[in-house]
Amino acid sequence: MGVPYIPVRGLAGTDVMERRDDMIMSYNPFDENDLNVVAKAQNPDVAILHAMKADEQGNALLRQFGEDVVVAQASGKVIITAEEIVDSVQPGDAGGNYISSINVTAVVHAPNGAHPTAVKGYYEMDREHIEEYVQASTDDESFQQYLDRYVIGKTEDEYQAMVAEQSMAAAPAGD
């Protein structure tokens, strides 16, 4: 929206509000008896958002429910990673939220890019991998091992090859 702050109906007296300095209480300028929480605008320098489809101009179809379009509009640069690159994404396209190329800086073709989480209509979440991640997150050492194995110094192709091999190994025989 490009405004400096916005009133919020809620959060008064919560630790959510207490533990940050960008939400304060403020009176309604039009009604001195009306107290609100106001939140300072959040403007990321870069947003990286995963889309179902994008075209080469940067028009994209982001997930149906969620704040992705708002995040994109609030950000300085927007990088869209997309499951598919198609000829044209139109505002009327079903199954997601359209974002115009005017808001988008770059598009990357990234099939299976949301792994290990799901993309509706494309693939389910990889439960085994998420469990592995959760286990690894319990302390710094095991998390570093996870990063060394899957992330640091690995290309996207290497990562995808690793997880594909794992899920083939995990699939029950005969499927």
Binding site: G13, T14, D15, V16, M17, E18, L35, G66, E67
Partner: protein
């Protein structure tokens, strides 16, 4: 005719909450809310046929609302919403975020912003908890996800929170900042309730007994409501498993 199997804790909470839904209300529940969903559908099938039910995440019964539920509530059009919480305290605050020190939690829970928004804007809130213990009803919550008392000029709904537990129904009065016991369920006494609550509770003397569950309520829940949840993709697996006729 053999009696059906006794109600589970979940079924007890479902039936008790369904009784207190007012007909024509617009009611909604959020994520991981099987118990609220079932209670709304039970009310609709029995005492409150004209309610508007919004069950987020349901295939067919979500009203196609996502974040719009917040705007609906903010505009004053959401009559009833449901919450659970890991902790409730004497000040009427509740916690859905963490157990332990917020900077180094023992457990991090799903709590985000939602509870801190809708609990201020929905006209009525039903809290429910599947245990009534001292670790639930604490002196001070580890983290305030939603506050019980707020400055008078901060507009919010006036109706007291209602809290449904396996032992009792409690209400929190924001004017006096006190919890009271409305009724104690059969099989428990007011002393049981007090012994399992860290803070003081007001209660009428004698304290009323919650009317017991009727056969009809349970049959409707395990029949018509369960079928509807399965058919409409509303926590279908849970309903099929947990609400079996018996």
């Amino acid at each position: 005719m053999s009696p059906q199997r006794p109600a589970s804790t979940e079924e007890l909470l479902i039936v008790l909450m369904s009784r207190d839904i007012r007909d024509w209300e617009t009611c909604a529940c959020g994520a991981l809310s099987m118990i609220p969903a079932a209670s709304m559908l039970l009310a609709e099938a029995t005492s409150a046929p004209y309610i508007e039910t919004i069950i987020l995440g349901s295939d067919q019964l979500s009203g196609n609302l996502g974040k719009d539920i917040h705007f609906l509530a903010q505009r004053g059009k959401l009559d009833l919403f449901y919450h659970s919480a890991i902790q409730f305290d004497a000040a009427g605050d509740f916690n859905l975020h963490v157990v332990g020190d917020p900077d180094a939690p023992d457990r991090r829970l799903p709590g985000g912003y939602g509870s801190g928004l809708i609990s201020y804007t929905a006209k009525r809130i039903f809290f429910f908890r599947t245990e009534h213990t001292k670790r639930t009803f604490v002196e001070k919550v580890d983290f305030v996800s939603g506050a019980g008392v707020t400055p008078p000029e901060f507009k919010r709904a006036a109706e007291p929170f209602r809290v449904y537990t396996p032992m009792a129904i409690l209400t929190f009065d924001r004017e006096t900042a006190r919890y009271s016991v409305e009724s104690v369920h059969g099989g428990f006494t007011i002393d049981d309730v007090r012994e399992n609550t860290t803070f003081e509770l007001d209660a009428p003397d004698p304290c009323p007994t919650t009317p017991p569950l009727t056969d009809e309520e349970l049959t409707t829940l395990r029949g018509e409501v369960r079928e509807r949840m399965v058919k409409t993709g509303t926590y279908a697996e849970w309903a099929a498993e947990e609400l079996q006729p018996g």
